[in-house]
């Protein structure tokens, strides 16, 4: 829709682009190979792309040499391997790696290397090839970790307030400036160009005048020797209940190639919002006060108490019912109740369990054949109690 760029030249002295051989060689591998690195910008700015090339060339041709190589990860920089060429000629290995490195802090930044030298011989190679799909034979190598000297970058700080580093353009699109209350207004911002990935956390600042809906940015990137070409799309939407103004947004950027600062800008935009007819709304008050005190917690608590009480009562009832059933089901209870004479009761108790009913039997004996007198009812009750006790 619109585009605005302001360029500002930085006053510090311009850097020179020249080839620089930082370190040549490391004879740690007993001169089995040579190691060389090259950076296109030895004194870059923070987040400026630096092209780093690494060459590993076999010098001892009596052995079979293989390399496991990569840059050492560090919080001081990020990197991306953009190319690697390996010459697989036997006894003469040559590897060429190309990296894009982005220093993340100013000052001296050491770029380290992880290198494992793998030495083997012709017999091992031949043996490893002798296998087949069902009999895979691994290549036996002698692995040695080789410590390589780091490449040191003298990183220059960015101008204060810089948000993006590189050569970028900003486009934004607002499909409509008139809308109904709370109607979402699509709003899309695209930042594209070459440089460090233009990811911004809060592109549009929050405001009470409108509600901002945002999605995860859509990122398109491609790496090349020239650096990282990217396009980042910020899909968003705005919504408000009345007219509002989106204030101008300025993004400070810095182009290290040209060594100049510039600004990407989103202009002030006014939005006209058609107010909603409150009378036609079901919910007429925004964020209304509670209609009544929320006693739902009490309901929940009472619910739990009822459930607990019901569980307790059911357990008790089950026990009680079991006892009742036990009382009723015991055939002897019925027979005891049916006894109409003390002799019959004595006969019944003797027949069933003279040991359990020994105390009652003793009383019955005293009653029937002695002088003691006890009521039949109490004797029956005692017999039933003894039955329960067992």
């Amino acid at each position: 829709m619109s585009l605005s760029t302001k360029d500002t030249y930085v006053k510090h002295s311009p850097g020179k682009l020249f080839l620089f051989f930082a370190i040549l060689l490391s004879l740690l591998g007993a001169e089995d190979f040579s190691f060389s690195t090259h950076v296109d910008v030895p004194d870059p700015y923070v987040k400026e792309a630096v092209l780093l090339s690494v060459d590993l060339n076999q010098t001892n041709h009596d052995i079979v040499l293989l390399f496991n190589f990569d840059l050492k990860p560090s919080p001081d920089y990020t990197f991306q391997r953009i190319d690697s060429k390996e010459t697989d000629s036997y006894h003469n290995a040559k590897v060429h790696y190309l990296y894009l490195v982005y220093p993340l802090k100013s000052g001296d930044v050491k770029i380290g290397f992880d290198l494992v030298k793998r030495v083997t011989n012709d017999e091992s190679v031949a043996y490893s090839f002798s296998g087949d799909r069902d009999n895979v034979k691994g290549l036996v190598t002698q692995n040695t970790t080789v410590a390589l000297p780091p490449v040191i970058l003298h990183v220059k700080p960015l101008p204060k307030g810089t948000q993006l580093v590189g050569d970028f353009k900003l486009n934004y699109e607002i499909k409509q400036t008139k809308a109904k209350a709370y109607e979402p207004i699509p709003f899309e911002v695209t930042i594209s160009g070459r440089g460090y990935l233009p990811l911004l956390k809060n592109l549009i600042p929050k405001s009470d005048a409108f509600t901002l809906f945002s999605e995860k940015p859509i990122i398109h990137t491609s790496h090349s020797k020239e650096g990282l070409q990217s396009r980042v799309i910020y899909p968003m939407a705005l919504s408000a209940k009345e007219n509002f103004e989106l204030p101008a947004i300025k993004i400070n950027a810095f182009d290290p190639k040209k060594e100049r600062s510039y600004t990407l800008e989103i202009l002030t935009t006014r939005f006209q919002i058609e107010k909603a007819d409150v009378n036609t709304l079901v919910d007429k008050v925004d964020n209304p006060a509670p209609y009544r005190t929320d006693w739902s917690w009490l309901t929940t608590l009472l619910g739990y108490l009822v459930v607990f009480g019901a569980g307790f009562a059911s357990g008790w009832l089950f026990k009680w019912h079991k006892k009742q059933r036990h009382d009723l089901q015991h055939p002897l209870i019925e027979k005891i109740d049916a006894c109409k004479e003390k002799k019959t009761l004595l006969q019944l108790l003797l027949a069933h369990d003279a040991v359990t009913f020994a105390p009652v039997i003793r009383k019955l004996e005293a009653d029937l054949y002695g002088k003691r007198s006890t009521t039949l009812k109490s004797l029956k009750q005692e017999a039933k109690e003894q039955l329960h006790a067992n």
Partner: protein
């Protein structure tokens, strides 16, 4: 008299925790001159009980472990040839004792069981041409495994009839077992002392014979025994098909004697129906032969006895 029995019981309790029914049964056997058969799993203090009884009475005690390869001569003794003077001498077997524990009697073959049971009945042993009378008292406490176990020879009904009572011993209660465990682990069982002389025991047996029993109760005993033979006559037609053979007259005698002993142990001066009721299961349970149908139904002779006691009216 009663004090002596109480002291005897107290002395036995020093060595045996719980198992009161077994002790009571053993005392009934001792007082009534009857033998006791005990059915139960091993480890229920059977040996301990009879050993303690022997010590408390100052009597001899021997134990025979019945095995399938046991011979009659192993228990009754044998005539042994002496090559030095070319003569024969008698070697008495372990039967020659006062109290005998015949452990796992149903593991021995029938001929050994018969040899023992004959001695139990006759109380005399014949070795070669010489007959020996056993000293009084002579009490056999035989144990047998539950018949369902393997490797056992069931005792024939005729032999079972020689036992006055058959006691079914069960495990102790948890409280009793706790006490057994504590005492057994720390060897805190007190030593059993002699509390009764043989003469005193004989006096007790004599007193028992003189104990009063009402003729109605004697009839009651006969009726109970008859009910096992002719249940229909006592309104027990429902169990008639469950009984193959009722009990023998020996059962009447043993029930009569056991009821006397029970009354005495309970501290009574006369026999009551309760005394009969308290021993009838132990006296009759091994004598009633159940029919095939009853065994197929899983019935026990105790159920028959319960129905009989429940039905035959007490005086």
């Amino acid at each position: 008299m009663q004090t002596k029995i109480t002291r005897l019981k107290e002395e036995l309790k020093k060595a045996v925790v719980g198992q009161e029914a077994m002790i009571e049964g053993l005392l009934i056997g001792l007082l009534s001159d009857g033998h006791i058969l005990i059915e139960g799993v091993p480890g229920l203090a059977k040996t301990t009980t009879i050993n303690a009884l022997a010590k408390a009475l100052g009597l001899d005690f021997k134990r025979i472990q019945f095995t399938p390869d046991l011979l009659p001569s192993d228990i009754i003794g044998a005539q042994i040839y002496n090559p030095q003077d070319h003569s024969f001498s008698i070697k008495k077997g372990p039967l020659f004792t006062h109290l005998l524990l015949a452990d796992e009697i149903n593991r021995a073959p029938a001929k050994v069981q018969s040899a023992l049971l004959e001695v139990m009945q006759e109380r005399q042993v014949t070795i070669a041409d010489e007959t020996f009378h056993l000293e009084k008292p002579f009490l056999v406490m035989a144990t047998q495994n539950p018949i369902e176990q393997e490797g056992v020879y069931a005792l024939p009904e005729a032999q079972l009839d020689r036992f006055m009572m058959k006691l079914v011993v069960t495990h102790n209660s948890e409280e009793e077992e706790l006490e057994i465990m504590r005492k057994g682990a720390t060897k805190r069982f007190a030593k059993v002392e002699k509390v009764l002389e043989i003469e005193e025991l004989f006096a007790l047996q004599d007193a028992l014979e003189k104990m009063h029993i009402d003729p109605e109760l004697e009839t009651y005993i006969v009726q109970l025994v008859s009910a096992t033979r002719e249940p229909e006559r006592f309104g027990l037609a429902g169990i008639a098909d469950d009984i193959m053979y009722g009990v023998s007259p020996r059962a009447s005698i043993d029930l009569y004697k056991a009821a006397h002993a029970k009354a005495f142990l309970r501290g009574n001066d006369f026999v009551t129906p309760a005394d009969i009721g308290m021993v009838i299961h132990d006296v009759l349970r091994h004598r009633i032969v159940l029919s095939y149908e009853a065994r197929a139904k899983g019935m026990k002779s105790d159920e028959i006895i319960t129905k009989i006691v429940e039905t035959v009216p007490i005086p």
